[in-house]
Symmetry: C2
Subunit: 300 residues, 2 copies
Protein backbone atom coordinates (compact mmCIF):
# COMPACT_ATOMS: atom_id res chain seq x y z
CA UNK A 1 0.00 0.00 0.00
CA UNK A 2 3.03 2.29 0.06
CA UNK A 3 3.22 5.32 -2.19
CA UNK A 4 6.04 7.68 -3.23
CA UNK A 5 3.67 10.56 -2.45
CA UNK A 6 3.83 11.21 1.31
CA UNK A 7 0.22 12.45 1.50
CA UNK A 8 -1.10 9.32 -0.23
CA UNK A 9 1.02 7.22 2.07
CA UNK A 10 -0.47 8.90 5.15
CA UNK A 11 -4.01 8.14 3.99
CA UNK A 12 -3.10 4.56 3.07
CA UNK A 13 -1.65 4.02 6.56
CA UNK A 14 -4.84 5.46 8.08
CA UNK A 15 -6.87 2.95 6.04
CA UNK A 16 -4.76 -0.04 6.97
CA UNK A 17 -5.01 0.76 10.68
CA UNK A 18 -8.74 0.00 10.78
CA UNK A 19 -9.42 -3.31 9.21
CA UNK A 20 -13.12 -4.04 9.63
CA UNK A 21 -14.43 -7.61 9.85
CA UNK A 22 -12.35 -8.80 6.85
CA UNK A 23 -15.13 -11.17 5.86
CA UNK A 24 -14.13 -11.14 2.20
CA UNK A 25 -10.44 -12.06 2.52
CA UNK A 26 -11.46 -14.68 5.09
CA UNK A 27 -13.75 -16.26 2.49
CA UNK A 28 -10.89 -16.32 -0.03
CA UNK A 29 -8.64 -18.13 2.44
CA UNK A 30 -11.26 -20.68 3.55
CA UNK A 31 -12.26 -21.39 -0.06
CA UNK A 32 -8.64 -22.00 -1.01
CA UNK A 33 -8.10 -24.22 2.01
CA UNK A 34 -11.09 -26.46 1.25
CA UNK A 35 -10.04 -26.75 -2.43
CA UNK A 36 -6.48 -27.85 -1.78
CA UNK A 37 -4.57 -25.33 0.27
CA UNK A 38 -3.51 -21.73 0.68
CA UNK A 39 -0.66 -20.40 -1.51
CA UNK A 40 1.03 -17.07 -2.22
CA UNK A 41 -1.59 -16.51 -4.92
CA UNK A 42 -4.34 -16.99 -2.34
CA UNK A 43 -2.93 -14.16 -0.24
CA UNK A 44 -2.73 -11.91 -3.30
CA UNK A 45 -6.35 -12.77 -4.11
CA UNK A 46 -7.40 -11.98 -0.54
CA UNK A 47 -5.56 -8.65 -0.65
CA UNK A 48 -7.12 -7.84 -4.03
CA UNK A 49 -10.73 -8.31 -2.86
CA UNK A 50 -10.13 -6.37 0.35
CA UNK A 51 -8.47 -3.48 -1.55
CA UNK A 52 -11.36 -3.28 -4.01
CA UNK A 53 -13.95 -3.59 -1.24
CA UNK A 54 -12.24 -0.75 0.63
CA UNK A 55 -12.23 1.41 -2.52
CA UNK A 56 -15.97 0.82 -2.84
CA UNK A 57 -16.60 1.77 0.80
CA UNK A 58 -14.60 5.01 0.39
CA UNK A 59 -16.72 5.97 -2.62
CA UNK A 60 -19.91 4.99 -0.75
CA UNK A 61 -19.00 7.27 2.14
CA UNK A 62 -18.46 10.22 -0.21
CA UNK A 63 -21.81 9.72 -1.82
CA UNK A 64 -23.67 9.16 1.44
CA UNK A 65 -21.78 11.97 3.18
CA UNK A 66 -20.95 9.46 5.94
CA UNK A 67 -18.76 10.86 8.72
CA UNK A 68 -17.58 7.60 10.21
CA UNK A 69 -16.47 4.19 8.99
CA UNK A 70 -15.34 1.26 11.12
CA UNK A 71 -15.68 3.38 14.23
CA UNK A 72 -13.31 6.16 13.13
CA UNK A 73 -13.69 9.24 10.92
CA UNK A 74 -14.21 8.45 7.23
CA UNK A 75 -11.70 9.55 4.57
CA UNK A 76 -14.08 12.22 3.27
CA UNK A 77 -14.61 13.52 6.81
CA UNK A 78 -10.88 13.94 7.40
CA UNK A 79 -9.58 14.85 3.93
CA UNK A 80 -12.71 16.01 2.06
CA UNK A 81 -14.56 14.49 -0.89
CA UNK A 82 -12.01 15.18 -3.60
CA UNK A 83 -9.24 13.27 -1.86
CA UNK A 84 -11.65 10.43 -1.00
CA UNK A 85 -12.79 9.88 -4.61
CA UNK A 86 -9.17 9.99 -5.80
CA UNK A 87 -8.06 7.62 -3.05
CA UNK A 88 -10.74 5.14 -4.14
CA UNK A 89 -9.48 5.35 -7.72
CA UNK A 90 -5.91 4.95 -6.48
CA UNK A 91 -6.85 1.75 -4.65
CA UNK A 92 -8.56 0.33 -7.75
CA UNK A 93 -5.36 0.93 -9.70
CA UNK A 94 -3.19 -0.55 -6.95
CA UNK A 95 -5.31 -3.70 -6.79
CA UNK A 96 -5.09 -4.02 -10.56
CA UNK A 97 -1.31 -3.66 -10.56
CA UNK A 98 -0.95 -6.22 -7.76
CA UNK A 99 -2.65 -8.77 -10.01
CA UNK A 100 -1.00 -7.69 -13.26
CA UNK A 101 2.49 -7.77 -11.75
CA UNK A 102 1.96 -11.44 -10.88
CA UNK A 103 0.09 -12.51 -14.02
CA UNK A 104 -3.10 -13.17 -12.01
CA UNK A 105 -5.21 -12.40 -15.10
CA UNK A 106 -7.86 -14.92 -14.17
CA UNK A 107 -8.45 -13.08 -10.86
CA UNK A 108 -8.95 -9.85 -12.77
CA UNK A 109 -11.49 -11.39 -15.10
CA UNK A 110 -13.48 -12.70 -12.13
CA UNK A 111 -13.33 -9.50 -10.14
CA UNK A 112 -14.01 -7.04 -12.96
CA UNK A 113 -17.22 -8.87 -13.70
CA UNK A 114 -18.12 -8.44 -10.02
CA UNK A 115 -17.28 -4.72 -10.02
CA UNK A 116 -19.46 -4.26 -13.10
CA UNK A 117 -22.34 -6.19 -11.48
CA UNK A 118 -21.94 -4.25 -8.23
CA UNK A 119 -22.27 -0.84 -9.88
CA UNK A 120 -25.12 -2.07 -12.09
CA UNK A 121 -26.94 -3.47 -9.05
CA UNK A 122 -26.56 -0.26 -7.05
CA UNK A 123 -27.74 1.90 -9.95
CA UNK A 124 -30.65 -0.49 -10.55
CA UNK A 125 -31.68 -0.20 -6.89
CA UNK A 126 -31.54 3.59 -6.92
CA UNK A 127 -33.61 3.69 -10.11
CA UNK A 128 -36.22 1.40 -8.54
CA UNK A 129 -36.26 3.43 -5.30
CA UNK A 130 -37.08 6.54 -7.27
CA UNK A 131 -39.98 4.79 -8.94
CA UNK A 132 -41.05 2.83 -5.81
CA UNK A 133 -42.15 -0.09 -8.00
CA UNK A 134 -39.78 -2.92 -7.09
CA UNK A 135 -41.07 -6.51 -6.99
CA UNK A 136 -39.47 -9.57 -5.43
CA UNK A 137 -37.92 -10.80 -8.67
CA UNK A 138 -36.18 -7.45 -9.24
CA UNK A 139 -35.05 -7.34 -5.62
CA UNK A 140 -33.45 -10.77 -5.95
CA UNK A 141 -31.65 -9.68 -9.09
CA UNK A 142 -30.43 -6.46 -7.46
CA UNK A 143 -29.00 -8.07 -4.34
CA UNK A 144 -27.38 -10.75 -6.50
CA UNK A 145 -25.60 -8.02 -8.45
CA UNK A 146 -24.73 -5.65 -5.65
CA UNK A 147 -23.79 -8.08 -2.85
CA UNK A 148 -23.64 -11.74 -3.86
CA UNK A 149 -21.38 -10.91 -6.83
CA UNK A 150 -18.45 -9.94 -4.60
CA UNK A 151 -18.86 -12.79 -2.11
CA UNK A 152 -19.03 -15.31 -4.95
CA UNK A 153 -15.92 -13.66 -6.41
CA UNK A 154 -14.07 -14.22 -3.12
CA UNK A 155 -14.93 -17.90 -3.10
CA UNK A 156 -14.13 -18.40 -6.79
CA UNK A 157 -10.79 -16.60 -6.47
CA UNK A 158 -9.92 -18.69 -3.41
CA UNK A 159 -10.70 -21.89 -5.32
CA UNK A 160 -8.83 -20.69 -8.42
CA UNK A 161 -5.74 -19.99 -6.30
CA UNK A 162 -5.71 -23.56 -5.00
CA UNK A 163 -6.69 -25.85 -7.87
CA UNK A 164 -7.06 -25.88 -11.64
CA UNK A 165 -10.20 -28.05 -11.35
CA UNK A 166 -12.84 -25.82 -12.96
CA UNK A 167 -15.73 -27.74 -11.37
CA UNK A 168 -14.44 -26.71 -7.94
CA UNK A 169 -14.20 -23.05 -9.05
CA UNK A 170 -17.81 -23.26 -10.14
CA UNK A 171 -18.95 -24.99 -6.95
CA UNK A 172 -17.31 -22.35 -4.76
CA UNK A 173 -18.70 -19.57 -6.94
CA UNK A 174 -22.19 -20.97 -6.40
CA UNK A 175 -21.56 -21.33 -2.69
CA UNK A 176 -20.50 -17.68 -2.46
CA UNK A 177 -23.47 -16.50 -4.50
CA UNK A 178 -25.98 -18.25 -2.19
CA UNK A 179 -24.13 -17.11 0.89
CA UNK A 180 -24.23 -13.54 -0.47
CA UNK A 181 -27.99 -13.71 -1.05
CA UNK A 182 -28.50 -14.92 2.51
CA UNK A 183 -26.12 -12.21 3.77
CA UNK A 184 -27.94 -9.33 2.10
CA UNK A 185 -31.43 -10.53 3.03
CA UNK A 186 -30.27 -10.75 6.65
CA UNK A 187 -28.81 -7.24 6.33
CA UNK A 188 -32.09 -5.87 5.04
CA UNK A 189 -34.02 -7.76 7.72
CA UNK A 190 -31.86 -6.17 10.42
CA UNK A 191 -33.21 -2.75 9.40
CA UNK A 192 -36.56 -3.97 10.72
CA UNK A 193 -35.62 -6.19 13.64
CA UNK A 194 -32.11 -5.03 14.56
CA UNK A 195 -31.06 -3.03 17.56
CA UNK A 196 -28.82 -0.62 15.69
CA UNK A 197 -30.87 2.37 16.72
CA UNK A 198 -29.55 5.08 18.98
CA UNK A 199 -31.82 7.75 17.54
CA UNK A 200 -34.98 6.63 19.26
CA UNK A 201 -36.46 5.25 16.06
CA UNK A 202 -38.31 1.99 16.62
CA UNK A 203 -35.73 -0.32 15.01
CA UNK A 204 -33.01 1.72 13.39
CA UNK A 205 -35.15 1.70 10.27
CA UNK A 206 -34.33 4.55 7.89
CA UNK A 207 -36.55 5.03 4.87
CA UNK A 208 -35.21 8.42 3.83
CA UNK A 209 -33.65 6.80 0.74
CA UNK A 210 -36.95 5.05 -0.10
CA UNK A 211 -35.12 1.76 -0.45
CA UNK A 212 -37.67 -1.06 -0.54
CA UNK A 213 -36.29 -4.38 0.62
CA UNK A 214 -37.69 -7.89 0.94
CA UNK A 215 -39.70 -7.53 4.18
CA UNK A 216 -41.50 -4.49 2.78
CA UNK A 217 -41.86 -5.88 -0.74
CA UNK A 218 -43.52 -9.01 0.63
CA UNK A 219 -45.84 -7.06 2.95
CA UNK A 220 -46.87 -4.69 0.15
CA UNK A 221 -47.70 -7.63 -2.10
CA UNK A 222 -49.83 -9.29 0.59
CA UNK A 223 -51.59 -6.39 2.25
CA UNK A 224 -54.99 -5.10 1.08
CA UNK A 225 -54.54 -2.56 -1.74
CA UNK A 226 -55.74 0.44 0.26
CA UNK A 227 -53.42 -0.26 3.16
CA UNK A 228 -50.45 -0.77 0.85
CA UNK A 229 -51.17 2.50 -0.93
CA UNK A 230 -51.27 4.33 2.39
CA UNK A 231 -47.87 2.92 3.44
CA UNK A 232 -46.34 3.77 0.06
CA UNK A 233 -47.52 7.31 0.67
CA UNK A 234 -45.67 7.41 3.99
CA UNK A 235 -42.51 6.11 2.31
CA UNK A 236 -42.78 8.64 -0.50
CA UNK A 237 -42.51 11.33 2.18
CA UNK A 238 -39.44 9.55 3.60
CA UNK A 239 -41.38 8.32 6.69
CA UNK A 240 -39.47 10.87 8.72
CA UNK A 241 -41.51 11.02 11.91
CA UNK A 242 -41.21 8.43 14.63
CA UNK A 243 -44.91 7.75 14.28
CA UNK A 244 -44.69 7.12 10.54
CA UNK A 245 -41.74 4.77 10.97
CA UNK A 246 -43.56 2.84 13.68
CA UNK A 247 -46.60 2.50 11.45
CA UNK A 248 -44.48 1.25 8.55
CA UNK A 249 -42.65 -1.25 10.77
CA UNK A 250 -45.93 -2.61 12.16
CA UNK A 251 -47.36 -2.90 8.66
CA UNK A 252 -44.41 -4.99 7.54
CA UNK A 253 -44.56 -7.23 10.58
CA UNK A 254 -48.35 -7.61 10.47
CA UNK A 255 -48.33 -8.74 6.84
CA UNK A 256 -45.66 -11.37 7.33
CA UNK A 257 -42.73 -9.48 5.82
CA UNK A 258 -40.34 -10.31 8.68
CA UNK A 259 -41.21 -14.01 8.72
CA UNK A 260 -40.98 -14.27 4.94
CA UNK A 261 -37.54 -12.62 4.79
CA UNK A 262 -36.30 -14.95 7.55
CA UNK A 263 -37.48 -17.95 5.52
CA UNK A 264 -35.77 -16.65 2.38
CA UNK A 265 -32.55 -15.99 4.25
CA UNK A 266 -32.62 -19.56 5.55
CA UNK A 267 -33.56 -20.85 2.08
CA UNK A 268 -30.37 -19.49 0.49
CA UNK A 269 -28.31 -20.59 3.49
CA UNK A 270 -29.62 -24.13 3.00
CA UNK A 271 -28.55 -24.16 -0.67
CA UNK A 272 -25.13 -22.86 0.39
CA UNK A 273 -24.88 -25.73 2.89
CA UNK A 274 -25.85 -28.26 0.20
CA UNK A 275 -23.21 -26.85 -2.12
CA UNK A 276 -20.59 -27.84 0.46
CA UNK A 277 -21.98 -31.38 0.86
CA UNK A 278 -19.63 -33.06 -1.67
CA UNK A 279 -16.56 -31.99 0.34
CA UNK A 280 -15.23 -34.49 2.89
CA UNK A 281 -15.49 -33.42 6.51
CA UNK A 282 -12.62 -31.19 7.59
CA UNK A 283 -11.95 -28.20 9.84
CA UNK A 284 -12.29 -25.95 6.73
CA UNK A 285 -15.71 -27.36 5.95
CA UNK A 286 -16.76 -26.80 9.55
CA UNK A 287 -15.45 -23.22 9.36
CA UNK A 288 -17.43 -22.52 6.17
CA UNK A 289 -20.54 -24.10 7.67
CA UNK A 290 -20.13 -21.93 10.77
CA UNK A 291 -19.73 -18.97 8.41
CA UNK A 292 -23.18 -19.67 7.00
CA UNK A 293 -24.62 -19.89 10.52
CA UNK A 294 -22.98 -16.56 11.39
CA UNK A 295 -24.54 -14.90 8.36
CA UNK A 296 -28.03 -16.17 9.14
CA UNK A 297 -27.92 -15.41 12.84
CA UNK A 298 -25.90 -12.21 13.08
CA UNK A 299 -27.64 -9.37 14.88
CA UNK A 300 -25.61 -6.47 13.51
CA UNK B 1 -21.23 0.31 -23.68
CA UNK B 2 -24.49 -1.60 -23.51
CA UNK B 3 -25.83 -2.88 -20.21
CA UNK B 4 -28.59 -5.32 -19.21
CA UNK B 5 -29.81 -2.71 -16.74
CA UNK B 6 -32.00 -0.23 -18.65
CA UNK B 7 -31.12 2.71 -16.39
CA UNK B 8 -27.36 2.11 -16.86
CA UNK B 9 -27.95 1.83 -20.57
CA UNK B 10 -29.72 5.20 -20.65
CA UNK B 11 -26.82 6.92 -18.93
CA UNK B 12 -24.28 5.18 -21.16
CA UNK B 13 -26.15 6.38 -24.25
CA UNK B 14 -26.20 9.91 -22.82
CA UNK B 15 -22.41 9.72 -22.39
CA UNK B 16 -21.73 8.41 -25.87
CA UNK B 17 -23.78 11.20 -27.45
CA UNK B 18 -21.31 13.90 -26.38
CA UNK B 19 -17.83 12.93 -27.37
CA UNK B 20 -15.52 15.84 -26.51
CA UNK B 21 -12.34 16.48 -28.47
CA UNK B 22 -11.24 12.82 -28.36
CA UNK B 23 -7.61 13.89 -28.13
CA UNK B 24 -6.58 10.71 -26.34
CA UNK B 25 -7.98 8.09 -28.75
CA UNK B 26 -6.63 10.23 -31.60
CA UNK B 27 -3.15 9.96 -30.11
CA UNK B 28 -3.51 6.17 -29.86
CA UNK B 29 -4.43 5.96 -33.55
CA UNK B 30 -1.67 8.29 -34.77
CA UNK B 31 0.93 6.51 -32.63
CA UNK B 32 -0.10 3.14 -34.04
CA UNK B 33 -0.05 4.50 -37.58
CA UNK B 34 3.48 5.88 -37.33
CA UNK B 35 4.71 2.61 -35.75
CA UNK B 36 3.39 0.28 -38.43
CA UNK B 37 -0.36 0.59 -38.81
CA UNK B 38 -3.75 0.57 -37.12
CA UNK B 39 -5.26 -2.81 -36.14
CA UNK B 40 -8.27 -4.10 -34.22
CA UNK B 41 -6.13 -3.93 -31.08
CA UNK B 42 -5.46 -0.25 -31.75
CA UNK B 43 -9.18 0.49 -31.76
CA UNK B 44 -9.61 -1.42 -28.49
CA UNK B 45 -6.73 0.58 -26.99
CA UNK B 46 -8.30 3.83 -28.17
CA UNK B 47 -11.66 2.83 -26.68
CA UNK B 48 -9.98 1.82 -23.41
CA UNK B 49 -8.25 5.18 -22.87
CA UNK B 50 -11.38 7.13 -23.76
CA UNK B 51 -13.55 5.02 -21.42
CA UNK B 52 -11.12 5.50 -18.54
CA UNK B 53 -10.74 9.20 -19.27
CA UNK B 54 -14.53 9.57 -19.26
CA UNK B 55 -14.75 7.73 -15.92
CA UNK B 56 -12.21 10.18 -14.48
CA UNK B 57 -14.16 13.18 -15.77
CA UNK B 58 -17.40 11.87 -14.24
CA UNK B 59 -15.69 11.52 -10.85
CA UNK B 60 -14.11 14.98 -11.25
CA UNK B 61 -17.52 16.55 -11.86
CA UNK B 62 -18.95 14.94 -8.72
CA UNK B 63 -16.12 16.25 -6.61
CA UNK B 64 -16.15 19.74 -8.15
CA UNK B 65 -19.95 19.89 -8.14
CA UNK B 66 -19.74 20.79 -11.84
CA UNK B 67 -23.12 21.22 -13.55
CA UNK B 68 -21.99 20.95 -17.16
CA UNK B 69 -19.54 18.89 -19.17
CA UNK B 70 -18.91 19.13 -22.89
CA UNK B 71 -21.66 21.71 -23.20
CA UNK B 72 -24.44 19.58 -21.71
CA UNK B 73 -25.54 18.78 -18.17
CA UNK B 74 -23.10 16.59 -16.23
CA UNK B 75 -24.07 13.11 -14.99
CA UNK B 76 -24.22 14.32 -11.38
CA UNK B 77 -26.42 17.25 -12.41
CA UNK B 78 -28.95 14.97 -14.13
CA UNK B 79 -28.80 11.81 -11.98
CA UNK B 80 -27.18 13.00 -8.73
CA UNK B 81 -23.81 12.19 -7.16
CA UNK B 82 -24.48 8.60 -6.16
CA UNK B 83 -25.28 7.48 -9.69
CA UNK B 84 -22.34 9.47 -11.06
CA UNK B 85 -19.78 7.83 -8.75
CA UNK B 86 -21.23 4.38 -9.53
CA UNK B 87 -21.27 5.10 -13.26
CA UNK B 88 -17.56 6.03 -13.08
CA UNK B 89 -16.82 2.73 -11.34
CA UNK B 90 -18.94 0.89 -13.92
CA UNK B 91 -16.90 2.41 -16.75
CA UNK B 92 -13.61 1.41 -15.08
CA UNK B 93 -14.87 -2.17 -14.89
CA UNK B 94 -16.12 -2.11 -18.49
CA UNK B 95 -12.77 -0.84 -19.75
CA UNK B 96 -11.02 -3.56 -17.81
CA UNK B 97 -13.26 -6.28 -19.20
CA UNK B 98 -12.80 -5.00 -22.75
CA UNK B 99 -9.05 -5.58 -22.36
CA UNK B 100 -9.30 -8.84 -20.40
CA UNK B 101 -11.71 -10.38 -22.89
CA UNK B 102 -9.12 -9.88 -25.64
CA UNK B 103 -6.00 -10.75 -23.63
CA UNK B 104 -4.72 -7.16 -23.91
CA UNK B 105 -2.85 -7.59 -20.62
CA UNK B 106 -0.01 -5.35 -21.71
CA UNK B 107 -2.47 -2.47 -22.21
CA UNK B 108 -3.75 -2.97 -18.69
CA UNK B 109 -0.27 -2.86 -17.23
CA UNK B 110 0.43 0.42 -19.02
CA UNK B 111 -2.86 2.05 -18.15
CA UNK B 112 -3.07 0.96 -14.50
CA UNK B 113 0.27 2.59 -13.87
CA UNK B 114 -1.17 5.75 -15.42
CA UNK B 115 -4.34 5.62 -13.28
CA UNK B 116 -2.20 5.21 -10.19
CA UNK B 117 0.02 8.16 -11.19
CA UNK B 118 -3.02 10.30 -12.03
CA UNK B 119 -4.63 9.86 -8.62
CA UNK B 120 -1.29 10.31 -6.86
CA UNK B 121 -0.61 13.50 -8.84
CA UNK B 122 -4.03 14.97 -8.08
CA UNK B 123 -3.74 14.18 -4.38
CA UNK B 124 -0.21 15.60 -4.34
CA UNK B 125 -1.45 18.83 -5.93
CA UNK B 126 -4.30 19.20 -3.43
CA UNK B 127 -1.90 18.60 -0.53
CA UNK B 128 0.47 21.25 -1.87
CA UNK B 129 -2.39 23.71 -2.45
CA UNK B 130 -3.38 23.39 1.16
CA UNK B 131 0.15 24.17 2.28
CA UNK B 132 0.81 26.80 -0.44
CA UNK B 133 4.47 25.76 -0.60
CA UNK B 134 4.90 24.28 -4.06
CA UNK B 135 8.17 24.82 -5.95
CA UNK B 136 8.91 24.31 -9.64
CA UNK B 137 10.38 20.84 -9.18
CA UNK B 138 7.26 19.62 -7.36
CA UNK B 139 5.01 21.25 -9.96
CA UNK B 140 6.85 19.43 -12.76
CA UNK B 141 6.43 16.13 -10.91
CA UNK B 142 2.74 16.74 -10.29
CA UNK B 143 1.81 17.59 -13.87
CA UNK B 144 3.86 14.61 -15.05
CA UNK B 145 1.77 12.35 -12.83
CA UNK B 146 -1.65 13.88 -13.32
CA UNK B 147 -1.58 14.77 -17.04
CA UNK B 148 1.48 13.51 -18.92
CA UNK B 149 0.96 9.97 -17.59
CA UNK B 150 -2.27 9.45 -19.55
CA UNK B 151 -1.03 11.06 -22.77
CA UNK B 152 2.13 8.96 -22.66
CA UNK B 153 -0.08 5.92 -22.04
CA UNK B 154 -2.04 6.69 -25.19
CA UNK B 155 1.11 6.87 -27.31
CA UNK B 156 2.63 3.75 -25.75
CA UNK B 157 -0.59 1.75 -26.22
CA UNK B 158 -0.82 2.89 -29.83
CA UNK B 159 2.76 1.78 -30.48
CA UNK B 160 2.25 -1.52 -28.62
CA UNK B 161 -0.81 -2.26 -30.76
CA UNK B 162 1.23 -1.88 -33.96
CA UNK B 163 4.65 -3.38 -33.31
CA UNK B 164 6.51 -5.63 -30.89
CA UNK B 165 9.62 -3.44 -31.15
CA UNK B 166 10.07 -2.30 -27.55
CA UNK B 167 12.31 0.64 -28.51
CA UNK B 168 9.38 2.11 -30.47
CA UNK B 169 7.05 1.68 -27.47
CA UNK B 170 9.59 3.57 -25.38
CA UNK B 171 10.06 6.30 -27.96
CA UNK B 172 6.33 6.92 -28.25
CA UNK B 173 5.95 6.84 -24.46
CA UNK B 174 8.58 9.56 -24.18
CA UNK B 175 6.92 11.55 -26.95
CA UNK B 176 3.58 11.40 -25.10
CA UNK B 177 5.16 12.34 -21.80
CA UNK B 178 6.78 15.51 -23.25
CA UNK B 179 3.62 16.37 -25.16
CA UNK B 180 1.65 15.99 -21.93
CA UNK B 181 3.98 18.33 -20.04
CA UNK B 182 3.62 20.91 -22.76
CA UNK B 183 -0.17 20.41 -22.79
CA UNK B 184 -0.59 20.99 -19.05
CA UNK B 185 1.73 24.00 -18.89
CA UNK B 186 -0.28 25.56 -21.73
CA UNK B 187 -3.48 24.74 -19.83
CA UNK B 188 -2.20 26.45 -16.69
CA UNK B 189 -0.95 29.40 -18.73
CA UNK B 190 -4.41 29.86 -20.24
CA UNK B 191 -5.77 30.59 -16.75
CA UNK B 192 -3.67 33.77 -16.89
CA UNK B 193 -3.77 34.76 -20.55
CA UNK B 194 -6.86 32.98 -21.84
CA UNK B 195 -10.17 34.51 -22.77
CA UNK B 196 -12.34 31.90 -21.03
CA UNK B 197 -13.87 34.46 -18.72
CA UNK B 198 -17.52 35.34 -18.91
CA UNK B 199 -17.68 36.42 -15.29
CA UNK B 200 -15.92 39.73 -15.66
CA UNK B 201 -12.77 38.47 -13.98
CA UNK B 202 -9.64 39.79 -15.67
CA UNK B 203 -8.59 36.53 -17.36
CA UNK B 204 -10.83 33.73 -16.24
CA UNK B 205 -8.37 33.17 -13.42
CA UNK B 206 -9.87 31.35 -10.44
CA UNK B 207 -7.76 30.98 -7.34
CA UNK B 208 -10.50 29.74 -5.04
CA UNK B 209 -8.82 26.31 -4.96
CA UNK B 210 -5.44 27.94 -4.19
CA UNK B 211 -3.82 25.93 -6.96
CA UNK B 212 -0.38 27.39 -7.67
CA UNK B 213 0.83 26.73 -11.22
CA UNK B 214 4.01 27.51 -13.13
CA UNK B 215 3.42 31.21 -13.98
CA UNK B 216 2.72 31.97 -10.31
CA UNK B 217 5.45 29.70 -8.96
CA UNK B 218 8.03 31.41 -11.14
CA UNK B 219 6.84 34.90 -10.22
CA UNK B 220 6.85 34.08 -6.50
CA UNK B 221 10.42 32.79 -6.73
CA UNK B 222 11.60 35.93 -8.53
CA UNK B 223 9.69 38.71 -6.81
CA UNK B 224 11.02 40.57 -3.74
CA UNK B 225 10.14 38.69 -0.54
CA UNK B 226 7.72 41.30 0.77
CA UNK B 227 5.74 41.46 -2.49
CA UNK B 228 5.55 37.66 -2.71
CA UNK B 229 4.30 37.42 0.85
CA UNK B 230 1.58 39.97 0.12
CA UNK B 231 0.37 38.01 -2.95
CA UNK B 232 0.40 34.73 -1.01
CA UNK B 233 -1.85 36.45 1.51
CA UNK B 234 -4.31 37.37 -1.23
CA UNK B 235 -4.30 33.77 -2.49
CA UNK B 236 -4.80 32.41 1.01
CA UNK B 237 -8.07 34.36 1.09
CA UNK B 238 -9.01 32.84 -2.29
CA UNK B 239 -8.41 36.16 -4.13
CA UNK B 240 -12.14 36.49 -4.51
CA UNK B 241 -12.55 40.15 -5.44
CA UNK B 242 -11.95 41.43 -8.94
CA UNK B 243 -9.36 43.81 -7.55
CA UNK B 244 -7.41 41.03 -5.81
CA UNK B 245 -7.43 38.87 -8.94
CA UNK B 246 -6.22 41.76 -11.07
CA UNK B 247 -3.40 42.43 -8.61
CA UNK B 248 -2.37 38.77 -8.63
CA UNK B 249 -2.46 38.60 -12.44
CA UNK B 250 -0.34 41.74 -12.75
CA UNK B 251 2.14 40.40 -10.21
CA UNK B 252 2.60 37.23 -12.24
CA UNK B 253 3.00 39.08 -15.50
CA UNK B 254 5.33 41.71 -14.03
CA UNK B 255 7.71 39.11 -12.58
CA UNK B 256 8.03 37.16 -15.80
CA UNK B 257 5.71 34.23 -14.93
CA UNK B 258 3.86 34.32 -18.24
CA UNK B 259 7.00 34.50 -20.35
CA UNK B 260 8.69 31.75 -18.36
CA UNK B 261 5.74 29.35 -18.67
CA UNK B 262 5.61 30.01 -22.43
CA UNK B 263 9.29 29.12 -22.69
CA UNK B 264 8.80 25.92 -20.67
CA UNK B 265 5.81 24.92 -22.78
CA UNK B 266 7.91 25.40 -25.91
CA UNK B 267 10.84 23.58 -24.26
CA UNK B 268 8.84 20.36 -23.79
CA UNK B 269 7.28 20.72 -27.23
CA UNK B 270 10.77 20.88 -28.72
CA UNK B 271 11.80 17.64 -27.00
CA UNK B 272 8.60 16.02 -28.26
CA UNK B 273 9.49 17.15 -31.79
CA UNK B 274 13.01 15.73 -31.42
CA UNK B 275 11.60 12.42 -30.25
CA UNK B 276 9.83 12.11 -33.60
CA UNK B 277 13.00 12.94 -35.60
CA UNK B 278 14.08 9.32 -36.21
CA UNK B 279 10.81 8.55 -38.05
CA UNK B 280 10.87 8.97 -41.83
CA UNK B 281 8.66 11.74 -43.19
CA UNK B 282 5.05 10.65 -43.62
CA UNK B 283 1.54 12.06 -43.28
CA UNK B 284 1.40 10.50 -39.76
CA UNK B 285 4.57 12.29 -38.72
CA UNK B 286 3.15 15.56 -40.06
CA UNK B 287 -0.08 14.93 -38.14
CA UNK B 288 1.80 14.32 -34.88
CA UNK B 289 3.96 17.41 -35.49
CA UNK B 290 0.81 19.46 -36.08
CA UNK B 291 -0.55 17.97 -32.87
CA UNK B 292 2.39 19.45 -30.96
CA UNK B 293 1.79 22.83 -32.61
CA UNK B 294 -1.88 22.65 -31.64
CA UNK B 295 -0.97 21.96 -28.02
CA UNK B 296 1.47 24.88 -27.82
CA UNK B 297 -0.75 27.39 -29.58
CA UNK B 298 -4.26 26.51 -28.48
CA UNK B 299 -6.19 29.36 -26.92
CA UNK B 300 -8.78 27.35 -25.01
Amino acid sequence: MRSRIPYVDTIARYLVKRKGKQIRPLLVLLSAQICGGISERTYRGAALVEILHTATLIHDDVVDGADTRRGIASINAVWKNKIAVLMGDYLYAKGLLLSLDHDDFHFLQIISTAVKRMSEGEIHQIAKSRQLDIDEETYIKIIGDKTASLLSTCCEIGAASATSDRSLHERMRLFGEQLGMSFQIRDDLLDYVGKKSITGKPTGLDLSEKKLTLPMIHALANAPRREARHVLGLIKDGAKSRKALQEVAEFVSHHGGIEYAKQKCEHYAAIARETLAPFADSPDKTALTNFIAFVVERAK
